[in-house]
């Protein structure tokens, strides 16, 4: 098995007694897009920040291209930061309003001491063009741009250092539908042309479906289901994933669907149960706590494994 671009092992973040992220395992293979979905408060954004070492993990490991970065100091971390970059949701607040777009895009080069000022400027311009903005935008300020254009700037800034791993935290959630499609296309193009790996954090399942290779579903800090994208959309096994899928708006009003909104108790009550014989791997038996079990076809779901009959 090749080294993944990013791997989180049993990563946990506690704020006081509350575990925002609870023993999460996550693998983003090279050249692939893993979507992290879940409602707000599920811990998906915190997971992204943990991966970027912007929030310090309570426990667990972060492996960037096989290298354990979980305990490096910020100084030791700096060279590794070139490999992993981030795009946030709020396109305006993501850009320093006092700087021109050229300065913003060139800044990462300056931080890592790459090239002369003139070279940095040229590179920033060519990156602006690469994300679909005319080079003339280099002298403009963030407020002069639309949300979609600003998000392009954020992407250019994220990738100018040649990052191989991109954490995109709801990069399209604040955008109009048409603009959203453009940004998704841009990310898709860059992903294929640069061989980028991406952790795509979103609650927008329609975007996830068109972009992601694998979908990871989080609920209350835990991963409840994980499967290749097609598999998730075709055969979601966890009640929470099913309710997320049901909540996706459908344009055709005639497409009548059964909608389920589950409370926390209902989700717990409906957690799948398996007899050990049904599973490929040998899980711990009869634990009261649900655990992530492997089904056929790289499909994992949080379930209770018990030899007793399903109640």
């Amino acid at each position: 098995m090749t080294t993944p671009a990013l791997e989180l092992r049993q990563i946990t973040k506690r704020f006081g007694n509350h575990a925002a992220v609870d023993r999460v395992d996550l693998v983003v293979p090279h050249n692939s897009v893993v979507a992290l979905v879940g409602e707000s408060g599920s811990g998906k954004t915190t997971t992204g920040l943990l991966a970027l070492r912007l929030v310090h993990a309570t426990s667990g490991q972060i492996l960037l291209d096989g290298k354990d970065i979980s305990n490096l100091s910020q100084k030791e971390l700096k060279p590794h930061r070139r490999q992993m970059q981030v795009v946030f949701q709020d396109s305006y607040a993501s850009l320093d309003p006092m700087m021109t777009l050229g300065e913003i895009v060139a800044e990462p080069l300056g931080i890592h001491g790459i090239g002369s000022a003139a070279e940095r400027r040229d590179q920033a311009r060519s990156w602006l063009e690469r994300v679909g903005l005319d080079g003339g935008y280099a002298n403009r300020y963030p407020h002069e741009l639309s949300g979609g254009q600003r998000q392009r700037v954020s992407v250019a800034r994220a990738l100018i250092l040649g990052a191989s791993m991109l954490v995109a935290d709801e990069p399209t959630s604040a955008l109009d539908v048409s603009v959203k499609a453009q940004i998704v296309n841009l990310l898709q193009d860059l992903q294929t042309s640069m061989g980028l790996s991406m952790l795509f954090i979103s609650h927008d399942l329609s975007v996830v479906r068109s972009l992601a290779d694998e979908v990871v579903v989080m609920l209350r800090g835990r991963i409840v289901e994980r499967a290749p994208t097609d598999q998730i959309f075709a055969d979601a096994r966890h009640p929470y994933t099913q309710s997320l899928l049901d909540a996706v708006p459908v344009i055709d009003p005639k497409a009548r669907r059964r909608r389920t909104f589950l409370s926390a108790d209902e989700i717990t009550a409906r957690t799948p149960r398996f007899h050990p014989r049904e599973l490929d791997t040998q899980p711990l038996l009869d634990t009261a706590e649900p655990q992530l079990v492997a089904l056929a076809g790289s499909h994992f779901v949080e379930a209770i494994v018990t030899e007793r009959a399903t109640p």
């Binding site: 920040l49 970027l52 912007l54 910020q74 971390l77 700096k78 060279p79 930061r81 070139r82 992993m84 970059q85 981030v86 946030f88 949701q89 709020d90 607040a93 993501s94 850009l95 320093d96 309003p97 006092m98 800044e107 990462p108 931080i111 890592h112 002298n139 300020y141 407020h143 002069e144 954020s154 800034r157 994220a158 250092l161």
Partner: protein
Amino acid sequence: MTGFILRRVLSMAVTFIVVSIVIFLMMHAIPGGPFDGYDMPLPDNIKARLMAQLGLDKPLWEQYLRYMWGVAHFDFGVPYQSPGETVMGLIAHAWLPSFTLGGLGILIGAPIGILLGMAAALRRNSFIDYLASGVATLGLTIPVFIISTGLILVFAVWLHWTPASGWGEPKRWILPILAYAAVPLATYARYARSTMLDVLNKPFVTVLRAKGLSERRIIFQHVLRNAAIPMVTIFPAMFVGIATGSIFVEAMFRVPGLGAYFVSSINKRDYPLEMALMLLISALYSISYLVAEILYAVLNPRIRIEGSGR
């Protein structure tokens, strides 16, 4: 930019005229006149002659126009309570202590407040943060005459470090300036903290951390620059307080500034002085807001763009 300033100056002039009319009417709406308050009332005929001499027998609109005609020629008349000098002369000698007191109070209070607020924002929930919040809350809620009394009690009465009141030599300036500094200090401690936190919580700061920029550089190259705009733009407004805010401090420390004249001119219906002082305040307001707007426009690229190209 020039057009912008011209437009503002023009609207300032209009505001100034409106304000002068309102003040003039309100001033005359107070019952009684300048010669009614004596223990031994003047005979009616003498009072009438004095009133005629000062033009106070004319209809209000005429009095207003005459006054404003004088103002246009920088003639603010003669104060009734001190007929030996002009209003301009009186303000000229009384304003120096007021502006020294207020100006030094701001120049001492504001930077300390800014540093305190910044330190609080950078070390949230630390001792310094609680100190800053405490200082800000007390500075804004405790009336200045209580602060003044406290200062006098501690430094003059108990410690004998400074004189209790008066002006004159700089040693006497210390306590009034400290008392005056409380409000700008508290205002800035709060304001600097909140603007800094506001910027620190922006995603672009998180992105800079993700880029590997050191915390120190993030603060000096990005956060301060962004937080400076709102901090600089409230600075001119601080000076407005000099004219009004020092009334209490001056009274507490018996500083021979403008403060006392505000009160006496109203009590004694000293129309020319009252009018001049009120116009001075509104001029201070107008000018400080104009300066604030210009500063804001110069500092903020978002405003800078309109009217001036890039």
